[in-house]
Symmetry: C2
Subunit: 581 residues, 2 copies
């Protein structure tokens, strides 16, 4: 199970360079008091570096387990300071040097956490894909668990404890902390209205009602903007004057651009586009059956204008023939990295990248202002119509390739499966990486549990003259999913029912942009009046959107449930109380 | 209600030229024995021509009522030779000249059918859009009812009879038949396996099981091909050596091409594309609540290779700038016409027409052979990914325009609405013309009611070595709807359940074409093994497909029901009996 998220073979390549780039993390292993340099320094060191990086993978797994099995984050449990990882008198003691010898199945696979030594060989053997965890052999998981503070969930630690075989030599405990900085010290300031589903890495969404009031997700007076934040790693600290964007890959001559060059040497293009997380509305899907992932509500989505250089212009400047060049994918690497210095990464199909109608840009402005750090400063990719995960932030490298990005997030996450696929049977290689998202919609107002005033048998909407009627209004994520995420299809209809589908009512769409057919990259907002059953004191409102291809939403989550809780686009249902006026 | 289908104002333009082009139909009015030429010959004649054409509209309504209210066709009922339209001793007699004076609401609106005279003024007043039926004032509906043999349904005639006011003068009865030929005399030969949902016009589909066996819908030994036929009017008789294609409209210099020129002056391009009727699977939707339309099963869909000239090449040859030319739509006119000589017509957005990635062609070959008459010989449009109705057959004219085609089928048919919109509230102007279709799929085998052999708890599929297991196989119309009808999205998964969704099972996709992402214009076929509940003697199989945007199908028809029964893409459900072996 732990290995499910682990990177594919591609990560091995990262590990080498990653280890090179992380001297402070390496130091504690090569110079720890109890860890003498082995005879075959090079080989052992490489093994330990691999082990270290693999620890990252395990730590990542733990993070992932912690975040996703529970479906949401809780405060770090008491377990973090409890029995797990503590010295046990009934078990033998091992030196880190001994641990480092156990780096493959033949020698058995060991790793450490706090004072504990663990043999995870059986886990590796039982799980297909166990080869990936092999990279974690022989090292300490602690540096990564320091990074991912959220790992300290009892069930994660309990699982690990099942593989406990011993204790770390007392004088070596904590040695890994040498030189370790707090990776979260430089996080940016966030708007207090953003509701976090995870603080490290920072993931948060605004109140849905605020979304529905603004075609462009705004910045408010009391702080930064309200656009949802989905970070996978610490926000990197980047000096714009030293920023460099590398362009390479098949058919590319190679190019390095400064921020100024990106701004000055290419036409600036502005695109209005919605960006949405694949896990938006996961909190509803998890009610059917638990899924793994951040506990997102319906507001992990936002709409903004983005200004930047066309990807095609930059590719052309790098010598790439956008009409008939080689390759099948365009890969993006962020400047945000994990402890092994493996960057966040993702890719999009070449067809998407080079199609002028897809409006892919390298954005340096959002809503007319330089990108904020949380949204990818100084440069991020905007791929209109495509899931947020491919809109790579803090863009450091663009690579034209014959294969998809080898990133974990491209290969082993952000994919859909049928409801009968579980963590024991899932094979991430069998499903395509999410690019466009399905049609979606949500009721932003009223909120669940609200008391709604009913007049003339209708749930009223905001009046034209400032009357304070309660409002049935929502952001049509469908604007994202269909127009925006799915080839730019326009939303043609939003239907709401308050009687379980007996009657459906057209909502008024307030589309503020007249985009060409097939290039409707923005959501639309909507509102309307909905009749409620006579005498009812409560009602459940349902919404569904329909796009220009007449794709619409599935009725319930039961038949679209998937183990990662992505693609949650069943009808949005909100229970409200009714009060006659 | 009758007026709902009537053409918009645009039809008036057609009527004038239409009447000019139909001298044989005009003659009986201007030279009938009891119809002296009125003093104001020109005005009266024009009024009667309008009336004649309007009769077409009414006849069209009747056809439509007959076909669509019942949801399917039956043999012409006894009513056709029964009391309706027969002489009634209790009513006065009118001359056709008198009838012709009642051409507007002020004078009241009359028309005739057989021996009856009808005053439809109140109907016109009661129904919004009644202006359209005004064009039918003062004439005989019979020529059109001869064309649309299917009109003679009792409920249609009964409705008409409510407006009965008198009898036609005996010596004028049947005068309209002067010079009227049987418009169906020249219909082509069809494959006997095609099951008609309407014979005139001819509409028919093949047995689903035959579809699923062939990636390209085949021609069989004993007759023509098995590709479904959806004709709106009689198949025109066209001499290929005299065929001419006109190209005109905004930004176009004008061009006339012979078939030889189309073949020789432009590169021949071959595209494999699925074509599907918007009403495919209507017979399932109508079970929820009756809809109007042909009673299509799940096989109003087919896949073929199409060879022809690129639309963009022809537009360029006509002097049109495909990169920045004016206009918003490209309209197509067929050479098939109604009695007023109004042609079948449809249009597609300019963006679709000029996008090289959309592969729009003017096809003269299907599966390597010249087009058959039923499929549009000598030339039809193929718009991959777009509903059959826009793939205009017997193509006579291409017009670049600022507006959509003014055809009835573009404006007042082939649109979707929410389930609460009925024939009294529908406003066809409020909904966009269907272009791309939503993701769809169907089980082609086993058929409903089949007894399926169960082995090892599974419904078996066709074995690799010729074993005669029963098969759960289907044509993924999704291949059409998503890949093909919706921007060319690929089908990524087909799930089947035999236990009401408790477990879902991935089917094996047999995609025979490696199309680029976003240009998957063909369906894919699939098959697989499905476990059935232990001990069960019957099961209901459900299928759903998911496309590359992860759009999937709605669970039931209840919430996607629409009055025209189009866009029927809820789960396909097939009841089978189970026999253990």
């Amino acid at each position: 199970m732990l290995t499910s998220l682990l990177a594919t073979g591609g990560s091995v390549r990262h590990l080498t360079s990653a280890a090179r780039a992380a001297p402070c993390l390496v130091r504690h292993l090569s110079s720890g008091p109890g860890g003498p340099e082995p005879e075959d320094g090079r080989g052992r060191r490489a093994a330990r570096l691999a082990a270290l990086a693999a620890g990252a993978a395990l730590a990542g797994s733990a993070l992932w387990l912690a975040q996703q099995r529970r479906g949401h984050l809780t405060a770090a449990s008491a377990a973090s300071s409890g029995q797990y990882g503590q010295r046990r008198a009934d078990l033998p003691t091992f030196s880190m040097e001994e641990v480092s010898r156990h780096a493959d199945v033949k020698e058995r696979v060991w790793m450490t956490y706090h004072e504990g030594v663990y043999d995870v060989t059986d886990f590796v053997r039982q799980h297909p894909g166990g080869a990936a965890i092999m990279m974690g052999a022989g090292g300490s998981a602690d540096p990564f668990w320091d990074l991912y503070a959220v790992h300290k969930e009892e069930h994660v630690l309990k699982l690990l404890e099942r593989y406990r075989i011993g204790n770390v030599r007392e004088d070596e405990v904590g040695s890994h902390r040498d030189g370790t900085d707090d990776p979260w010290a430089a996080e940016p300031r966030r708007h207090p209205a953003l509701k976090p589903s995870s603080k490290t890495p920072f993931n948060a969404e605004p109140p849905p009602a605020l979304l529905a009031d603004n075609f462009l997700t705004p910045k408010y007076e009391r702080g930064p903007d309200l656009f949802y934040v989905r970070n996978h790693l610490p926000v990197p600290v980047i000096d714009p004057s030293e920023y460099e964007l590398e362009v390479d890959g098949v058919g590319v001559d190679g190019l390095t651009l400064s921020l100024e060059q990106l701004k000055n040497d290419f036409p600036a293009v502005t695109v209005t586009a919605t960006v949405m997380c694949a896990g938006n509305r996961r909190s509803e899907m998890t009610q059917v059956k638990p899924v793994r992932g951040l506990f997102w509500g319906a507001a992990a989505v936002g709409n903004a204008t983005w200004t930047g250089a066309r990807l095609t212009d930059v590719l052309k400047a790098a010598g790439y023939d956008v009409n008939s060049g080689p390759g099948k994918h365009v890969c993006f690497e962020g400047l945000d990295t994990d402890p092994s210095s493996t960057p966040y990464g993702a890719s999009i199909p070449l067809e998407t990248a080079v199609d002028p109608r897809r409006d892919v840009i390298l954005a340096y402005e959002m809503n007319g202002q330089p990108l904020s750090r949380d949204h990818g400063a100084p440069v991020r990719v905007i791929v209109p119509g495509v899931v947020g995960a491919r809109n790579v932030k803090w863009l450091g490298r663009i690579t034209v390739s014959d294969t998809e990005s080898d990133s974990h997030w491209q290969h082993s996450d952000y994919k859909g499966f049928n409801p009968s696929v579980d963590w024991d049977t899932v094979d991430f290689s069998k499903s395509p990486a999410i690019q466009e998202l399905p049609v979606n919609s949500a009721i932003c107002w009223p909120a669940p549990g609200h008391t709604v005033k009913v007049k003339d048998g209708h749930v009223h909407v905001k009046g034209e003259s400032g009357l304070t009627y309660w409002q049935t209004a929502g952001s049509v994520n469908a604007g994202i999913a269909c127009e925006c995420f799915g080839g730019g299809q326009r939303i043609v209809r939003v239907d709401v029912t308050a009687d379980g589908g007996a009657t459906w009512h057209d909502m008024a769409l307030t589309v503020e942009e007249a985009a060409p057919a097939g290039r409707c990259w923005s959501w639309c907002l909507w509102q309307g009046r909905v009749p409620v059953p006579p005498g009812a004191t409560a009602a459940q409102l349902w919404v569904k959107a329909t796009d220009a291809s007449y794709n619409t939403q599935p009725e319930t989550f039961k038949n679209i449930w998937n183990l990662r809780g992505v693609l949650s686009n069943a009808y949005h249902r909100v229970d409200v109380n009714l009060k006659r006026v």
